[in-house]
């Protein structure tokens, strides 16, 4: 086909890229240099490097790390066992189905389950531990986050394990390695790409959660995402909000590089 025609398709797409991809990022960077009155300033960046914000950043990282680690811990065995089942595609579909249900509703469900008279406390009573404050704690925040992110972690790992040639495992066993050794030296290294992309799709959103911190953690946990939301929609300090957003973007790019190696166009 003659080359001439292709520009027609490129025009609307390039317009989309310029309007909705490039210019918003540039605007965020531009706004991060503005103070409350719209004057040019570097003070937002100075503020970011004060202990208050650094501690918050560290905290965000810690929570995101915990959420990613627990998700991985639960998701890997699940994905592995799923590949061993009959009708594995159907089971996978069933595992993924909850992720299609509105996030808000799942968070809302936990308001009931973890509430003072909810199911979790009723169970604690039965076991004789007695009622505890579960909602608005770190535990509930991490539990609900892990609950929400597990399907996203399972999917890439499942795909990686599913692609693994089973004769490699047989070979490893035939050559005398134990089950654990086979896992550590053969299965895990060969599925590391799935693990990486799983961690990526969990860690970045986990850094910027703001809805869950408000509903489940009751404003006790302030992540970078919560701070952005706070600055943009509550205190109306867009400059500071944009500065935090700039750092979030930088972190995101770094993580993408670190976990790199993803095939192009695959998500």
């Amino acid at each position: 086909m003659k080359v001439r025609g292709r520009n027609i398709f490129l025009i609307p797409y390039m317009l989309w890229i310029i309007i909705f991809v490039i210019s918003p990022i540039l605007l965020v960077v531009y706004y991060s240099f503005l103070d409350l009155d719209g004057n040019f300033t570097l003070s937002n960046y100075q503020t970011f490097f004060t202990p208050v914000y650094l501690k918050m950043t560290l905290n965000s990282f810690w929570y995101a790390f915990l959420i990613t680690a627990f998700s991985l811990l639960i998701a890997y065995p699940t994905a592995y066992l799923l590949t061993k089942t009959k009708y594995k595609q159907l089971w996978l579909l069933l595992i993924i189905l909850p992720s299609w249900i509105n996030l808000l509703l799942k968070a809302y469900a936990f308001l009931g389950i973890f509430g003072t008279y909810g199911f979790a406390n009723a169970m604690l009573e039965v076991f004789g531990i007695g009622k505890k404050q579960i909602l608005f704690t770190d535990f509930s925040f991490i539990f609900v986050s892990v609950y929400i992110f597990i399907p996203f972690m399972i999917l890439p790992i499942f795909n990686a394990i599913d692609k693994l040639n089973p004769s490699l495992i047989d070979a490893s066993r035939d050559l005398g390695s134990s089950a654990w050794m086979t896992f550590r030296r053969v299965v895990f290294p060969l599925t590391i790409d799935g693990v990486k992309s799983g961690c990526q799709v969990v860690f970045i959103p986990a850094l910027s959660l703001f809805m869950l911190t408000r509903l489940i953690a009751g404003n006790r946990v302030i992540t970078l995402g919560t701070a952005v939301e706070q600055h943009f929609l509550v205190t109306q300090n867009w400059g500071m909000g944009a500065t935090i957003a700039v750092f979030l973007i930088i972190i995101m790019v770094l993580i993408m590089f670190l976990t790199g190696n993803r095939k192009r166009g695959v998500l």
Binding site: M1, R6, F9, L10, P12, Y13, W16, I17, I19, F20, V21, S23, L27, V28, P77, L81, T85, Q89, L93, I95, I96, L97, P98, W100, I101, N102, L103, L104, L105, K106, A107, A109, L111, G112, I113, G115, Y117, F119, A122, Y147, P151, F152, I154, Q200, I204, S208, F210, M211, R214, L215, G225, V228, F232, L233, A242, I249, M252, M256, G265, L267
Partner: protein, 267 residues
């Protein structure tokens, strides 16, 4: 044999944990007690109340209109984008376009929301229907591209050569060869765009302003006020709707294609 049992138990527990909160919500939507604990009596009052809540019905209508409009427009734009990327011959240009394409997929919602908010304010677009619609189109386009591009890549170039040899013009090649071939991808993209739009909370929350609301934003503000079994009734209906949508999609795509394309977990 014993190992098999352990793994079944593990999978069973994961399934129970994934589904329990959803069924917990649905169960209490029939509770006359008005709380998400202590089931008193079976009632359909909450559903009745739901259908008499005009404000809520308008919000549902808004959400559906936004979802349909944005997914139709973003599907068209996304198909254009996918064809544009596919036409580009130079590898570096291809990967550059794909990188730009993926920015909005990997960006945390908070960043997308905040940067769009800045952009709409700078350009002077009033926050409300238009800004929400534009944002939904913007973040759905790359998803459509990702869904359509693999279909284009797997299409053999001899198909197009053959069409050309038989005297087809550019227009005919597009409408008679390319588009029919990538139709499953277009369907998948449209469906994904639809569900992304229906489900989005964070981006909408930033750009919605006062007076205009979608279902997710409404659920959030209701949930922040505490538990009301209206939400449970609403979520039961949404759950059923989601299941129908997924099954419908599954049938359409498997019928055309033999297997589901890109039926993945989602944000």
């Amino acid at each position: 044999m014993k190992k098999m049992k352990l793994s079944t138990i593990y999978l069973f527990i994961v399934f129970v944990i994934l589904y329990a909160p959803i069924f917990y919500l649905m169960f209490f939507s029939f509770n006359s007690g008005g709380k998400m604990y202590h089931f008193e009596q079976f009632t359909l009052d909450w559903y009745r109340e739901l259908f008499h809540d005009t404000r809520l019905l308008i919000i549902v209508l808004n959400t559906v209109i936004i979802a349909l409009l944005s997914s139709v427009i973003s599907t068209i734009l996304g198909v254009f984008g996918a064809i544009a990327i596919w036409y580009v011959r130079k590898n570096y240009q291809k990967s550059l376009l794909l990188s730009f394409n993926n920015v909005l997929i990997v960006s945390p919602d908070v960043i997308i929301g905040a940067s769009f908010l800045i952009m709409f304010t700078v350009v002077g677009i009033k926050l409300g229907f238009t800004s929400v619609l534009l944002s939904h189109i913007a973040f759905s386009v790359p998803i459509v591209v990702i869904m359509v591009l693999p279909k284009l890549q797997e299409m053999s170039s001899s198909l197009i050569d053959a069409a050309q040899d038989l005297g087809a013009g550019r227009r005919e090649i597009l409408t008679k060869v390319i588009l029919p071939y990538i139709t499953p991808g277009i369907f998948a993209g449209f469906f994904m765009a639809l569900t992304y739009s229906l489900d989005d909370f964070a981006v909408t929350f930033f750009v919605t302003g006062n007076g205009f609301s979608t279902l997710s934003v409404e659920i959030y503000s209701l949930a922040r006020r505490g538990i009301s079994l209206n939400i449970n009734a609403l979520s039961t209906l949404l759950f059923l709707f989601t299941i129908i949508l997924v099954i419908g999609y599954y049938f359409i795509v498997t019928k055309r294609n033999g297997r589901a394309v890109g039926l993945g977990a989602r944000k």
